[in-house]
């Protein structure tokens, strides 16, 4: 853990941009058809419930990052293994988002550039940021937050002005019935993007006002959920369900169809800016927690020295995880949620919480005195 503090507003902004990240670009909850926006909102509520699980864990160990308190809960040996698995998980997710980013860039703008070079250029920036630490990342995200919202507002305004929104496209909302919707929300959309908030268990201890964390977390999730839901609703209202589902990047198709007054058109750069902002924040957060986690588990004194090796591994993984974009997406839709997200985002945190609950109850009954001493000791580190 580095010696750093971030403010509540910075954390809120970071959560917001992280959640919007790559989810804004893909047809999120597309199988929900006309009701996709509703599925996202349901998943957001699920995401808030998950956040309460993470929050409860944080309450037990307010000064420890995930890889540290896992060892406090499970003991040194088992804890180290689980912490290591989490590091792999974060690195894998970083690689996935990096791949998303590179593929999108190649599809949309640079068809002749090899994927490796696009990804390498990006990961270099990420490594640089990670070396600078969490405070720099938080300040950067403050800047991006303003830019992102200006982009969002102007793009919504242009969409409305060009008269492309046909609310009829959103009818019938219940093309998929309610039970199916809830199922979809809790089997897919909750994990991506809302459940990925688990990485923030590695960042929460830096918050300088932990008493406000609950509000910040719920606020960040709710705001990003509403934005995502709204964007998807606009996508469908403009493009219709068929086209939205057929588009790799519905938002790009939407932006390309904007035509205001015969000259305000071809605004593809909007999409690329959103891609850069979202991709950068998301990859950097994942890489950062992978680096601090590794340093924490293997007792490395200077975490920033790990940025290069970890970044390089992420770069290589991002190239080899799939041979084509369709394969990459298919993995992300079918295998990753069930076999990777579900255990890491839900099962392990819940188990940890249950163990932590019993452990701390015993402690607080018998060793009230001892616990405070222990806490003081950890802080001293």
């Amino acid at each position: 853990m580095e010696k750093a503090k971030i403010s509540g507003y910075q954390l809120f902004v970071l959560i917001f941009l992280f959640e919007m990240g790559s989810a804004l670009l893909v047809p999120l909850a597309g199988e929900g058809k006309q009701g996709a926006w509703l599925v996202i909102l349901i998943a957001m509520i699920g995401g808030i419930l998950l956040f309460f699980v993470y929050y409860a864990l944080f309450q037990y160990y307010p000064n420890q990052i995930l890889t540290e308190f896992v060892r406090s809960i499970l003991g040194n040996f088992l804890g180290r293994i689980v912490a290591f698995l989490y590091i792999l998980y974060f690195m894998y997710l970083a690689a996935r988002v990096l791949r998303d980013f590179g593929e999108t860039l190649l599809t949309v703008a640079y068809p002749h550039v090899p994927l490796f070079f696009a990804n390498a250029a990006f990961i270099l920036v990420v490594i640089y940021t990670v070396r600078k630490g969490i405070e720099v990342l938080a300040r950067t995200s403050e800047l991006f937050f303003v830019l992102e919202n200006v982009l969002f507002l102007t793009f919504i305004l242009l969409t409305i002005v060009s008269g492309m929104i046909h609310l009829n496209n959103l009818k019938p909302v219940l093309e998929i019935n309610g039970v199916e919707m809830v199922k979809m929300a809790f089997s897919k959309t909750i994990f991506f993007p809302f459940g990925e908030l688990i990485v923030f268990l590695m960042i929460f201890p830096y918050l300088n006002e932990p008493q406000r964390l609950k509000k910040i977390g719920v606020g960040g999730l709710a705001l990003s959920g509403i934005f995502l839901s709204f964007t998807m609703a606009v996508n469908i209202a403009v493009l219709g369900v068929d086209l939205t589902l057929r588009s790799q990047y519905p938002l790009l198709t939407l932006i390309q169809s904007i035509e205001v007054a015969g000259f305000l058109e071809r605004l593809d750069v909007y999409f690329l800016l959103k891609l850069m902002i979202g991709g950068f924040i998301k990859i950097t957060v994942f890489t950062y927690v992978a680096v601090t986690g590794t340093a924490n588990v293997f007792n490395v004194k200077q975490p920033s020295r790990l940025a290069y090796p970890v970044g390089f591994v992420i770069l290589l993984v991002s190239i080899v995880i799939a041979s084509s974009y369709s394969e990459h997406i298919q993995e992300g839709l079918s295998a990753v949620p069930v076999y990777i997200h579900l255990p890491f985002q839900v099962i392990i945190p819940l188990l940890l919480l249950i163990i932590a609950y019993f452990k701390n109850r015993k402690k607080s009954n018998k060793h009230q005195q001892h616990k405070t001493e222990l806490k003081g000791g950890v802080e001293g580190k």
Binding site: V108, A109, Y110, P172, L243, E259, R266
Partner: protein
Amino acid sequence: MNRKRLVLLLMLMGTTFTSGCWDKTELNEMAIVSAVGIDKNEAGRLVGTFQIINPVNVAGSLQGGGGTNPSISIYRATGDNVLELDSNASTKISRDMYFAHANLVVIGEDVAKEMGINSIFDAFERSPEFRATTRIVIARGVKAKDLVETLTAIDKVSAEKVIKTIESTEKQQGGSITINLQEVIKNLVSSGKEPLISGFTVRGNTNKESKIENTQTSNMAANPNAVGIGVFKDGKLIDWLDGNQAKGTMWVLDRIVNTNVNIDWEGKKDAVTYQVLRQKTNVKPKMKNGKPKMYITVRAEGDIREVNAPIDLASPHGSIDIEKKLAKDIKKDMEDAIKLAQKNKSDIFGFGELIHETHPAYWKKHEKDWDDVTFPKLEAEVQVEVFIRRTGIRNKPYLLDIKKGDQ
């Protein structure tokens, strides 16, 4: 210190070699395509015609000079699919074809009728370079190449001329429909709506249209005209809507902006002209005895522009009579358009989509046979309200005074 310099050097190299220059294309390596025409030859292969902008000549004519050379160049290629056309054309073009400014795709009538348009648009939709807002037209009675290679006078690039003509025809007359690539594909995919695409033709001497002399006379020998709207079913062109059929269809689609409605008066044909200024068409499906019925209501406001009959417009009674007659005529046009669509078994109005939106359960049962069984039997009730707001800067027509003097 040394290490820092090395890092700096590496970063400088990195930013120079990896930021965007990789995929650069200089302007003089690009051939900017403004229109694409797609025809079919006797062997059933596709023939593509690419209209490429000649930048020097377009700019020259803007400054008042130039005009000695055509502002467009035409290249042709044969192939079995759209991308093959592109790559085969490269044997003739010295530059890379750049499609981001292609505003128009012209489909030959024979392609639309015999092969259908279903298998044409994927390459256009998939490419990030090609625009979703590209307009689509059908070359009616001529080959797509005739339309693409025609030189035009006021708009130097004929793709621009075609697009503007369709837009103004839709606005002034309601006889054409502006439709882009994205909407066409949307309608092709939808089971509750079929596409409509405007027709365009070249009238006149079809051997001289690609020569510069064509633009050197005030009365061009070959001039592209908007003609009618093509009706599609299962991706194939099956019928053309002209005149009142087209207008009636546009009324139902709520796409009338300004149009002139002419009515007969006491045996005199087209004696009164009424110009619509604003209008709103509402289409609502309602279930009756387990069957849907479409309720279409139109509310139009406008002015009287021409009266060649002795009608006293100064009195409200005269106006009301005209309003009633106008409503009757518009209603008839709309009902005829609906009947024709039902005869063609092609739901060009998107009634199916409306029923899908409002009665999803019924739609699920009838989606499969919508076009062939349910839509042709669908009942529709049209109600038209017309309001005359103003009559120009005269009240009574002078014809009324002439008649009085004669007596």
